[in-house]
């Protein structure tokens, strides 16, 4: 449990505390006029000392407390959510076997949830989502109270990882069960039209592309629609990917690419980032950005002599990654090898405290302010009745 302020700038209102202090001081420094005939026997040498003494200190205290409470109220005090009931939190990564996870945590006091956005209960069905696993793991880590242990049940193969192994603030209990993460983002699930336009002399390249698409569809059935046709058909409007297999290409293709298309172009000696290399390191294909789209340029035709990879079993994956572009970064790993590390103490101290689940204290502070106001009024009027100045 810890106390926090959501708007610490509200504490600037504490400056208002100087007002009652000044008021009570000023009243103190006023000298009371008294008619006194025996004046000459009062020593003139002793000057009145301007001592810091407050008139009616209890009233001053009540007023200061009232102002401090109001300032705190402005700063929006919250209490970090308390985990006083000792509930342990266990998370099941999507892809892991829920039955195995339940078997692992089949005891009272374990809150078993999916490692998915907003952490639904394990009993609920898991909806598709696009948030990477590493991000969810860090979020779960940040939302745990200090000192708790993070139980995670993961499949053998993890997906949705990023470049760095997560460093967690809490102790980790890492369980690997059977299963494989299906890390494909749901946003990419739409059907993709892959148009192939070929000149007659390049028609020999077609079987390799057909084989690659067939391999894709074997993994994701019916997702990739191949539309192979001669050059005369032109570029279809609904195609997302295009393979232009011809010695020359019209400006129409470049315009389509610049509108956001991704094209695999043969017979293109233009520049770009090296994409594929052979065993000697010479560049086999280059990728270059063209407007909103991208071109994968092959210097020659798509044939085993120029590009031995087309005969390789990896070609389908290579081509898919090249066309998908950003998906090229590896995001899958073996779960046992990927066990996150514990953050060092310094890292944990430096880490900005994430706003976890908090309980607002506004109502309590408002009530306290009201009570203090009543006390202040009672004190002020009570002393006034006694005839104080």
């Amino acid at each position: 449990m810890s106390f926090a302020l959501l708007a610490p700038l509200g504490l600037a209102a504490l400056a208002a505390c100087t007002l009652p202090i000044l008021i009570h001081l000023v009243r103190r420094l006023q000298l009371e006029r008294t008619e006194f005939a025996a004046l000459r026997w009062i020593s003139a040498r002793v000057q009145p000392r301007r001592r810091i003494r407050f008139e009616r200190p209890w009233l001053l205290l009540a007023r200061l407390l009232l102002l401090a409470t109001l300032a705190l109220l402005l700063a929006r005090p919250v209490l970090d959510q308390v985990e006083a009931n000792g509930v342990e939190h266990a998370y099941i990564a999507p892809g892991a076997d829920p039955a195995a996870a339940r078997a692992l945590f089949d005891r009272v006091g374990v809150d078993l949830r999916w490692l998915a956005p907003s952490f639904p209960k394990a009993e609920q069905p898991l909806a598709d989502h696009a948030v990477p696993f590493a991000s969810l793991l860090r979020e779960a880590d940040a939302s745990l109270p200090a000192g708790a242990t993070l139980h995670v049940v993961v499949p053998r193969t993890l997906g949705g990882l990023d470049g760095e192994r997560p460093r967690l603030a809490h102790a980790l209990d890492w369980h690997v069960v059977d299963g494989e993460a299906n890390a494909t983002p749901v946003a990419a699930r739409a059907t993709i039209h892959f148009a192939v336009r070929y000149a007659d002399e390049d028609a020999t390249s077609l079987p390799y592309l057909r084989a690659a698409v067939a391999a894709w569809n074997a993994r994701e059935p019916g997702r990739y629609l191949l539309d192979a046709a001669p050059l005369a058909r032109g570029v279809p409007a609904d195609a997302r990917w295009l393979a232009w297999l011809a010695p020359s290409r019209p400006a129409e293709v470049d315009a389509w690419v610049e509108r956001g298309g991704i094209a695999l172009v043969a017979h293109d000696a233009g520049g770009g980032e090296p994409l594929w290399r052979d065993a000697d390191g010479s560049v086999l294909a280059r990728s270059r950005v063209q407007g909103a789209g991208r071109t994968i340029a092959l210097p020659d035709r798509l044939s085993p002599t120029r590009l031995p990879d087309v005969l390789d079993a990896r070609f389908a994956t290579l081509l898919l990654d090249a066309l998908r572009g950003a998906a090229g970064a590896p995001d899958r790993a073996d779960a046992a090898a990927f066990e996150p590390a514990r953050a060092t103490y310094e890292e944990r101290i430096d880490a900005a405290p994430l706003p976890g689940p908090v309980r607002p204290l506004d109502a309590r502070f408002a009530l306290l302010a009201a009570i203090l106001f009543v006390v202040e009024r009672v004190l002020a009027t009570h002393v006034a009745q006694r005839g104080a100045p």
Binding site: R28, L29, Q30, L31, E32, R33, T34, E35, F36, A37, A38, L39, R40, W41, I42, S43, A44, V46, Q47, P48, R49, R51
Partner: protein, 304 residues
């Protein structure tokens, strides 16, 4: 407003056993109040009254008995030599009121004391006069006797308001023409102005029997003030800005020394002196001055 308003009932009741007397003639317990000059009963005829058992046979008027066949006693008006002058200080410093009793100031107390002395003098049949010092010029009620004289004095007292400073030497001079030697002068003042004490000394050295009452407030005795104060002199408008707690001890010491010195000075000059604090009963200083034990000459015992 009458004498009853000036003198509380209980004080009035306690005045009964007090006697105004001159110190120089004190000591005898004869027939009259003032033994030296009074010739006993029958110096100046006043009235006849019927004989009552206990009257001396020699006081019966036998000639009248012969004419009327009844016993009558001649009564004579006693010739009192005593003239009591009451001098009231009504300067601005007498405006002082205590915080505890803001309704009754020093001048009110002085009026009460003056009324008590008037009451005593009236009861003894003595002549009395009143002098009020303060304001523009001294106001004088010439000496006289009787109830009407008392009313004149009480009226003057009631109308009197504090203000001004102690009159100059020249303004006080007419008093010497009126206050005859061997009169009793009761001086009611706070004696904060040295001129008052000087006047008392001069009167005493010129064969006037002076009894002085120094009126002091309870605040002057206790100095109960707290915190910062701006003390203002009502007469000179001088002021002192002090922290009351810090000057208290010093003030009490110096003020007490001043009071003791005044008492010693008056004793040395043969002046009966008593202090009267405003929270005391009004007959207390008179008892010290004119009570039975005071008449034997133990004067100046007013120090509390």
């Amino acid at each position: 407003m009458t004498l009853q308003a000036l003198v509380p009932v209980d004080v009035r009741a306690r005045l009964r056993d007090l006697r105004l007397a001159l110190r120089s003639h004190a000591g005898g317990d004869g027939l009259g109040q003032h033994t030296s000059r009074s010739r006993g009963a029958g110096l100046e005829f006043a009235q006849y009254r019927a004989y009552e058992p206990g009257d001396e046979p020699r006081r019966i008027d036998w000639k009248l008995y012969a004419r009327s066949d009844r016993y009558f006693v001649r009564e004579a008006e006693r010739d009192s030599p005593l003239t009591a002058w009451i001098v009231v200080d009504a300067t601005a410093s007498m405006r002082h009121v205590d915080r505890a009793a803001p309704a009754r100031g020093k001048l009110d107390a002085a009026k009460t004391l003056a009324a008590c002395v008037i009451e005593l003098a009236l009861r003894q049949g003595d002549r009395f006069g009143l002098v009020v010092l303060g304001g523009d010029a001294p106001r004088v009620v010439p000496a006289g006797a009787g109830a009407r004289q008392r009313d004149r004095c009480v009226l003057e007292l009631v109308q009197c308001r504090p203000g001004g400073a102690w009159p100059a030497e020249a303004a006080v001079r007419p008093l010497w023409e009126r206050i005859a030697p061997s009169s009793l002068v009761v001086l009611l003042s706070d004696f904060f102005d040295d001129a008052a004490a000087v006047l008392a000394e001069r009167l005493a050295s010129a064969r006037r029997d002076v009894a002085s009452v120094q009126l002091l407030g309870a605040d002057e005795r206790d100095f109960p003030f707290r915190g910062g104060h701006r003390f203002v002199d009502p007469e000179s408008s001088a002021e002192r800005r002090v922290e009351a707690e810090r000057v208290r001890a010093d003030f009490l010491e110096r003020f007490g020394a001043a009071r003791a010195q005044l008492a010693r000075r008056f004793v040395a000059n043969g002046i009966r002196h008593a202090e009267y604090l405003l929270d005391q009963p009004a007959d207390l200083p008179l008892r010290r001055l004119f009570g039975a034990q005071a008449s034997s000459g133990a004067s100046g015992e007013g120090a509390t």
